[in-house]
């Protein structure tokens, strides 16, 4: 249980002169669901972008599966088993659902493997199969989120990094998204989740870290944090 899959050590990230992450460290163990919670501008998205290579830390080290991935470019991280479902879904709107899923499997060479993954995704999200020839731009927000998740699953991930998957969705679809996260987890995929909906995020997580203006100010078991007075007050609206 406590085998570290992803280790982030003391990373500092800058946007120009602005220091967005002020030296944060955390660990995600194999098989866990870990949440990063915090207010807007706390550095959650920046953290995810740094892990998957879209940003580079000025200081610090990121280790995945024992390998140093601090300087590995984004497009190679996918082949190592980490896939990123970006904030705002960012499906390719001018491509069909099917083409989006194919792009998700861009790094997979084996054709049978791709076909199996496609069947698995269609099984998980029957809606995507119904709309496979439709342009992704015409999908609803919920469907686009399903597509973003399905696309990520096409790459044989060991770990999925999700950025605000419930953003902009109706309450019904929010529940749907968290169900999907549990399904993904039940397939032995490790999940690192960033969410504004802290309550729901803590409910599906094993552990969590609380970020505030570029620092981790609290960490612990998700169930403990959900009952912590300070967390309740600041993030759970209680």
């Amino acid at each position: 249980m406590s085998e570290a899959l992803l280790q982030v050590e003391n990373i500092e990230v800058y946007y120009g002169l602005i220091k967005a992450l002020k030296g944060i460290s955390f660990t995600v163990n194999r098989g866990e669901v870990v949440s990063l919670i915090g207010a807007n501008g706390a550095g959650k998205t920046t953290t995810l972008h740094t892990i998957t290579g879209l940003l580079r830390p000025k200081v610090g080290k990121i280790t995945y599966n024992g390998q140093d991935i601090t300087k590995v470019p984004a497009h190679k991280i996918v082949t190592m088993g980490v896939v990123h479902v970006p904030e705002g879904r960012r499906v390719f709107k001018d491509l069909s659902v099917y083409d989006n899923l194919c792009l998700g499997a861009y790094t997979v060479q084996n054709k049978e493997n791709i076909a199996d993954n496609l069947a698995m995704v269609y099984d998980l999200f029957p809606r995507l199969e119904e709309r496979k020839n439709q342009m992704s731009g015409t999908l609803s927000g919920g469907e686009q989120q399903m597509l973003a998740m399905g696309r990520a699953l096409m790459s044989n991930p060991e770990m999925i990094v999700m950025d605000e998957p419930s953003m902009g969705l109706s309450p019904l679809l929010v529940n749907e998204v968290f169900k999907i996260i549990e399904t993904v987890h039940s397939r032995n995929i490790t999940v690192l989740l960033v969410e504004q909906n802290s309550k729901k995020a803590l409910a599906v997580s094993d552990r969590a870290y609380v970020l505030e203006t570029g620092n981790i100010i609290m960490e612990g078991k998700a169930s403990d944090l959900a009952n912590d007075e300070r967390v309740k007050k600041a993030y759970l609206g209680a």
């Binding site: 996918v78 082949t79 194919c102 861009y106 790094t107």
Partner: protein
């Protein structure tokens, strides 16, 4: 009547040449988000490559076509690697100025190596064919056929292959494409390679019409093809083809009417003004999407 038909065919074939060049502009714009103003000069380099083979070595024109395509493809990749890649993420004005610089560099190099005097590049000795009483230049038919095949092939590659999907993905959202495992630099290099190979073909077809080249050989076709790309909607591949065809046909008609022929270029460029007034994003250009 027969004159009109032969003008249409000449127009379509000239339009095909513009379309080939316009495709390079539009693909590079769509995928690398830059206007490659050195694109026209790639055509010129291709024509000199052909000159070296047929003019200086008196070798086969077929070899000249092959060498021109190879040289231009390599040059496209080289220019992207040395001049544009270091500017990835730089303001677009810096990239634009660099492209103009590359354009002058290529023209000056050609002038230093081959001199400023135009040189003959004798390709094939084309005849006229008689189809139902209409005499048509064979080169027009060949050009038209090759352009059509190339455009269809390109659309197929973009719609149906892995490389094509990667290109569309990079053009739409570079960051998200990287997250799929797409190597953005490599995809952009492939785009430059394809665009430059098409430019080489366009240069060869231009030599079919008039077998003379000079260091500014690519300037006018380059600008016209850029106009074609904008008319069609820059970034759109079918748009570039349509824009090229429109330009070619209008130009040939203008040239065929005696009192209009001196103004052919002016007429061609005024299409741009009209199209931009009616549809500012071009015929097939996308409207800017509102962010939800």
């Amino acid at each position: 009547m027969s004159e009109i038909i032969s003008t249409i065919i000449n127009g379509l074939s000239q339009g095909g040449v513009y379309a080939l060049i316009a495709l390079g502009y539009t693909m590079v714009y769509g995928i690398a988000k830059m206007l490659n103003f050195a694109h026209g000069d790639i055509i010129m380099v291709g024509s000199y490559a052909a000159f070296v083979v047929v003019g200086m070595m008196s070798s086969s024109p077929f070899l000249a076509i092959f060498i021109a395509v190879v040289v231009c493809t390599a040059l496209g990749i080289l220019v992207e690697r040395l001049a544009y890649r270091p500017l990835r993420g730089a303001p677009s004005l810096s990239v634009l100025i660099t492209a103009i610089g590359v354009s002058y560099l290529l023209q000056s190099l050609a002038q230093i190596i081959f001199g400023a005097t135009p040189v003959m590049v004798p390709m094939f000795d084309f005849k006229f064919v008689d189809i139902g009483g209409i005499s048509i230049k064979i080169q027009s038919l060949i050009t038209l056929a090759v352009c059509a095949v190339v455009i269809v092939l390109l659309l197929f590659v973009i719609k149906k292959t892995k490389v094509g999907r990667a290109m569309v993905a990079v053009s739409e959202d570079r960051g998200a494409a990287q997250l799929m495992g797409v190597n953005v630099n490599r995809t952009i290099a492939i785009t430059f390679a394809i665009g430059s190979a098409l430019a080489a073909l366009a240069g060869i077809f231009s030599l079919f019409v008039s077998p003379v080249t000079s260091p500014t050989f690519g300037a006018l076709p380059g600008i016209k093809a850029f106009v074609a790309a904008v008319i069609g909607g820059i970034g759109s591949i079918p748009g570039a083809a349509i824009g090229g065809i429109i330009l070619g046909v209008v130009e040939q008609f203008a040239l065929s009417v005696p009192f209009l022929s001196p103004y052919a270029d002016a007429i061609v460029f005024s299409i741009l003004i009209v199209v931009l007034l009616v549809r500012p994003t071009g015929i097939l250009g996308k409207k800017q999407r509102e962010k939800v």
